[in-house]
Amino acid sequence: MTVLHWATLSPFLIAILIPFLYKYVRKVHTGWFVLLLPFTLFIYFLSFLSSTREGNVISEHLAWVPSLGINFNLYIDGLSLLFALLITGIGTLVVLYSIFYLSDIKEKLNNFYVYLLMFMGAMLGVVLSDNLIVIYVFWEVTSIASSLLISYWYGREKSIYGAQKSMYITVFGGLSMLGGFSLLYVIAGTFSIRELIANADIVMASSLFLPAMILVLLGAFTKSAQFPFHIWLPDAMEAPTPVSAYLHSATMVKAGIYLVARLTGVFGGSPEWFWIITIAGLTTLAWGSISAVRQKDLKGILAFSTISQLGLIMSLLGVGSAAFYFQDGNNALYTTAILAAVFHLINHATFKGSLFMAVGIIDHETGTRDIRNLGGLMTIMPITATVSLVGLASMAGLPPFNGFLSKELFFTGMLNATEYGIFNLETMGYIIPIVAWIASVFTFLYCMIMFFRTFTGKFDGSKLKVDHVHEAPIGMLISPVILGILVILFGLFPNVLAYSLIEPAMAGILPGILNPGEFFNVHITHWHGFIPELFMTIGVIVLGVILYLSMSKWQKTAFYLGERDIFNYAYDYGYDGLIKGSQWITRIQMTGRLRDYFIYMCGFMILLIGYTMYKFNLPSFNTMELSPIEPFIWIVAIVFIGSVIAVPFINNRLGLIILTGVTGYIVALFFVVFRAPDLALTQLLVETVTVILFMLAFYHLPKLKKEKTSKGIHAIKLIISISFGVMITLVSLSAFSMGSTAGMPSISEYFTEFSKELAGGYNIVNVILVDFRGLDTMLEILVVGVAVLSIISLIKLRFKGSEDV
């Protein structure tokens, strides 16, 4: 256990203390204690910056289950560090914000902070671990913590619905991912990511390459809300706003991005990886931005905007993975997309976090998030309005904010993709920038809608539930203002990030492309001259403004009036259908009738054994070893058959008992014929007692009636019983013939030989029962004892149904 291990696990350890702090220190808001942890971790992770900048990596080992190759190995390079800083940095701000957002009187803060810390620790584990199985463990903990946080107000039906939905979808993806990881282990024999990257060519050449890749990507796409798995994210907006800001904008939804970036070194350079990720990302980008325009709820807009921005980052990772194909690190043509992805990842975390917090403030102060009821808040909430303006302008991609820079780089990366000349890009490639551009127009549009509908226009207090609307308390504003300042800072001085964070992260995503001592060329500027990207941006702005101004024309269309994503219907119908289908299947087969279950059992055995016998050319008969039949046996057999066949059809109780007795006594007679005196004796006694028991029981039981069954059921009964009997007969005959031809001597000769010598007994059967195989007899006595006790308790104990048994 090194310092780094303790740092990763520290949130879990602190989470244990939270309930005690909440219970015994009621004067102070619990959040203040929590705040120390992410802040300390943030400072701690900042200390690694200098080493990753020089291209060094830190790795710490800790054996967990070494025999299975599962080790809790931590590994810090530029990519992990970027995510760790995001998690702890945004975590600090979110905890600070939540201290003012959640009241310590009305809310159960102990739950909230325990879940939040659990999530933080799991997320750190995901980004710092080097071992796939450890990543999977932490991955599922993030799913669980996220569901707990979404359903924080568990009294609300919608919270529960959203939590369930996110749980099902992300856990489905997580399990697929586990399958993918297992396949990778099968291919390369290791769970370590770095060893996998070193063996990337083995993975590439394997026949399991594609299934492993698709399964891993399912995990990444579900977590990162890619199309069509994005439907859980809008419903996750039922969570408290700090949770939405933290989980559903900055950290958890980027776990899938992290996974894709991390495994680019393993799968990158293959056309499947390129196309799957690019297409998924672009579809998500377009679908998310178009859907965001339709939303009326501020958080709904932000949810779909998050979806579309995640799609943007994902598509950039897809396009950038082609750099592996060319193995050329210093040609910006291939690596710009990765640069844009990393840069936009940072930018998105800053502006989306601040926007969520701003929306939380509006919700907190006005009591509504519906843009149809809001308006004119600019003068009432000047600071919130400013922060929102900065964040939205950045999201829309306006200069001088950071969103503009990453949007330019995004266009550059997408345009570059058309020049690769691989993977059929010369024909299909032109679709990529076109889709990206259309999505950007819609992004611009919903940013405008969000700002102007909320802050400009006429203030109408009558629509709000709160009497007196005013600016939020200062504590709530600290975090969004800090993030807003970061947006501006990164916009004005992007090169602060360039070689400290972005370049090491790129080296982490594209391992082994650079020669030792080389660095990616990261230089972000505002002005490139008159290039296509600039005209694209101008086009986005112009078209967006035109669309916004003509909003009154398309506001009445069905497109705008509908809010819910159509894929929700698929999910809901699928969910209901699954439940109804399972119930239907259960209703069909679980009838509650003993007869039906017995028919299943017998039918299955008949089919199975019948098929096996057919397969091995059975039944076989052997007439060699048969013993002769004495004449009187025939008479006995005929009587026996008659009585047995008559038993099921008799409706007279006495007759039934007598016939059953007859069969039992004839069995005893057979034992006499087969020279088994002890058996005959026992059988006679037992049969007598059984007959007496039947008599006693029948005295208390109702009269037997002729069974009323339909002809069909009757036929089935006959078929099943006859075929079952025939099958047993055939199996026994075959077994006997095979046993006699196998030539294995019986072990009984030993008993015959040594019965007198070793056990001092003459009756061989009895010697076997009490001497050679005494255990059977002891336990058989136990069986009889238990039977006696249960009969006594059945008769003696009479419960009315309310006693404590």
Binding site: K717, F724, S732
Partner: protein, 112 residues
């Protein structure tokens, strides 16, 4: 002889299965009792029905029949008797408590 006994056992199995598939509890118990007869006959048949003496040393020739299946059957007879007895008492108590021995009526609600 073995073939004949095996066929008899098959007939026993047929009757037992038919009984177990019926609607009244008492017939099901009868079916299980009859099924055990079939099993016992099969066990002794599988050991072979050679002509030999009773498996007691000092009785007749020095070639007794196989004693092991007999020991197994003896154990089995006792166990099946115990099970039959318990089932019978269970049926009797069931009838006392519920007033029926019809399995369809003992089924309870559809959704239980």
């Amino acid at each position: 002889m073995e073939t004949l006994i095996t066929i008899l056992a098959g007939i026993l199995v047929t009757a037992a299965t038919y009984l177990i598939l019926s609607k009244s509890l008492i017939r099901v118990i009868l079916g299980t009792a009859i099924l055990s007869h079939a099993a016992h006959l099969l066990i002794i048949t599988m050991g072979g029905l050679k002509n030999g003496s009773v498996p007691i040393i000092g009785e007749g020739d020095a070639n007794p029949v196989d004693a092991l299946p007999q020991a197994l059957i003896l154990t089995s007879i006792v166990i099946s008797f115990a099970v039959t007895a318990v089932s019978l008492v269970l049926a009797y108590r069931t009838y006392q408590e519920t007033g029926t021995d019809k399995l369809d009526q003992l089924r309870g609600d559809r959704n239980e």
